[in-house]
Symmetry: C2
Subunit: 435 residues, 2 copies
């Protein structure tokens, strides 16, 4: 067995974690990989005081790692999609296998990078790009390979889940919890990436491509954030036996695929409803296996490093004996990848939760229900709350049966036009997740 030689680009949070896991568990990793994993070259613009690189070669020009003839596997941990993309391309051109934790890079440029890697007969692995340390890519790509995947749904942004958990457990406002999440370092100074759903959309499109054998279609993902949610919605959902989670959902049907990220009411007895704090979890529905769930830390230096190192070991097993890793980037032979139409959101069907403010007077509910009925939408539950003291308006909560968004929007527009309804109606999708 020859040693397998690793180059790491980026020595920040995840790079530092990966460095430490490779150092701390060196003997164990060699036993599992069947070969020594030798970190021989680090590319980093600045030192990381937690990572004493010793006599490992250190380059300030990260491209030197991609061109190092000794390096077998280049580990891209610099993030972003400009320099990172050039770096990965340079590594591929130089015959390096690539391991990356970069969800944006894979989601937005995976198609071209995977094609280029195949041409050069090298592998790209990206377990750490989705749900941190949870081996969900491996589960979907290999563990469930015997199944047609019908749908998957996941809590794949820990910051958003932390905020929703705090809102529910303590009745706090969105803005208040967000400020705390920023103070705790969970959320970026600009939190839009987390709370508007972009980060979840990146991860969702990667999971969907593996699940359905499609190209990565990031620009087709519908992403709706959690910024509009109020403590009232969280609390009413709970009264009705639901929890609100920010889910990434991908479904396959005869019409095509649904790719969507949005707040969602799910039944409280679902395991997914009980995933709290910054944790991630993904439910996958397979044709043979039924429902499986994967849960764990979705971010953080060491959990992400766990996934990065797992990818390195997988590659190293083959490289140590001079074999070529055979697993295709999406788990499907590239010739078999088929673009499927993404179903427009107006045609996507689900039950709905709606909350509106109505004048507390006779006849209003009858007007509202007839406008739903006009769109062919049936009502599962309608709760008119008592008015607060001195108020003449009451909150009205409606749970509908399944309705396409197009029909729902039309009904909502008509209801909002009623004199007795004040302001906008809050609309949140419901998913039963097979329960």
């Amino acid at each position: 067995m020859k040693p397998v030689k690793i180059g790491i680009c980026g020595l920040g949070t995840v790079g530092g974690g990966t460095f430490r896991v490779l150092e701390d568990n060196a003997e164990l990793l060699a036993a599992r990989a069947g070969a020594q994993l030798e970190l021989i070259h680090i590319g980093a613009r600045r030192d990381n005081p937690d990572c004493p690189v010793g006599d490992v070669r250190l380059s300030r020009d990260i491209f030197a790692v991609a061109r190092d003839p000794e390096v077998d596997i280049l580990v891209e941990l610099i993030g972003g999609t400009t320099v990172a993309k050039e770096l990965v391309e340079e590594a591929i051109r130089n015959g390096k296998h690539v391991v990356t934790a970069n969800k944006a890079l894979i989601a937005e440029f995976g198609n071209v990078l995977f094609a280029m890697a195949e041409q050069h007969n090298v592998a790209i692995r990206y377990e750490a790009a989705v749900a941190g340390g949870i081996p969900i890519i491996k589960a979907l790509r290999e563990g469930l390979a015997g199944n047609r995947i019908d749908w998957l749904a996941g809590i794949i942004n820990g910051t958003g889940n932390f905020i929703l958990s705090e809102m529910r457990e303590k009745g706090r406002d969105f803005a208040d919890v967000l400020a705390e999440a920023q103070a705790l370092g969970y959320a970026e100074a600009d939190p839009a990436f987390d709370v508007e759903g972009t980060d979840a959309a990146h991860k969702l499109v990667i999971l969907a491509a593996i699940a359905f054998g499609t190209p990565l279609q990031f620009s087709d993902v519908y992403a709706e954030g959690i910024t509009r949610l109020t403590p009232q919605d969280v609390s009413y959902a709970e009264e009705l036996g639901y929890r609100i989670k920010h889910l990434g959902i991908a479904k396959q049907s005869a019409q095509g695929v649904e790719l969507r990220v949005h707040p969602t009411l799910i039944p409280e007895q679902q395991l997914l409803a009980n995933v709290n704090g910054v944790k991630n979890a993904v439910v996958v529905e397979g044709s043979a296996v039924g429902s499986t769930l994967y849960y764990g830390a979705g971010a953080g230096a060491e959990p992400t490093a766990s996934a990065v190192v797992a990818d390195i070991i997988d590659l190293a097993r083959d490289l140590a004996v001079g074999q070529s890793p055979q697993l295709p980037a999406l788990g499907v032979a590239s010739a078999a990848i088929r673009k499927l139409p993404v179903i427009p959101m107006s045609e996507v069907v689900s039950p709905w939760y709606l909350r509106m403010e109505a004048d507390d007077k006779p006849g209003v509910m009858s007007q509202v229900t007839s406008l739903f009925s006009a769109q062919g939408i049936s009502i599962e539950a309608l709760i008119q709350k008592a008015p607060s003291p001195g108020e003449t308006r009451v909150p009205v909560i409606v749970l509908t049966n399944e309705a396409a968004q197009g029909c729902l929007d039309a009904a909502v527009k008509a209801i909002e036009a009623l004199d007795s309804i004040v302001g906008k109606i809050m609309c949140i999708r419901v998913e039963t997740l097979g329960s």
Copy 2:
């Protein structure tokens, strides 16, 4: 790419499921494996009316499949440990790779079979042997390969979990629910295998060997069943904020490994506590990733077939291009496998739940607590219930802090000898699972 040729031995429940998955998803599986998966030979003592074998060769002598020069992968689905062992050995001698769902075979004879397979340069895969369709073997062996595994704990017998779930939800007796489970086909006519913990012990020892890089040590597993549990225990546990689950637990420490299957109180907010019915779930604590959980169907024809087919696809990717699969049977190079001492149960430490019947008179509790104290055991909670009308005895529930079983046993023996304590004391371990 050359087609990969499959032989299946056994066409019962799991064999039939595997046959159907291979047929139904043929095109998808070929895309994922990068080669056609051709079922060319079936060994079965009798036909399965749900499996029209068409022009696939059918042998009543299953050993004919192991000797078929065309077969690349032999799939052993006959169960048991006598003929199955001979069959797998014959397949290995004939250079076949082996996929099996047989937990007893791997748990009891894995060490010799893995060594023999390595000699003959073939692979043995057994994802379906633990937790049915949940890809837990793959997660532990590959997905978490970057971690030192500290412990794992799982609900790995669906029948037992169904019984405990029903006892909790409906206050039913063990015997009553067991009879229903037998009627539903969840439990065998002789249910000892499920409810006494043997089945869970088989699975636990497989998970532990992968997690810790040890040989399979089935005879060293402590197995305690759920037959003694009463609805009262289930209900008192709930009052205290716990659920009772039948867990397989493996822990690694400086002293060695713990391998144990027993009823366990776990905190109700743990995800594992909310796994109900026949489902399985396993929590794994890794040094880098922290806690991850894997959930799904632990049995059944199609879920088990899902795992079998995943193993076939993994092997097929390499075989299709004439490469040798490099993953060792336990995920660790055989030269690196180390036998670790199994810690005797008397030294295994945990908090405890105890229930006893005491005379309802002054001084009894003081006697009881002083006997715990004499063994160095401190008490976390002590609840004396009110006597039932007309009763002079009361149930007393005790939660202790951490105590080795040896000390606990000594205290229990002394307490049972008190005149004021009636009958035996019920003792159940508590695990916080890191919460």
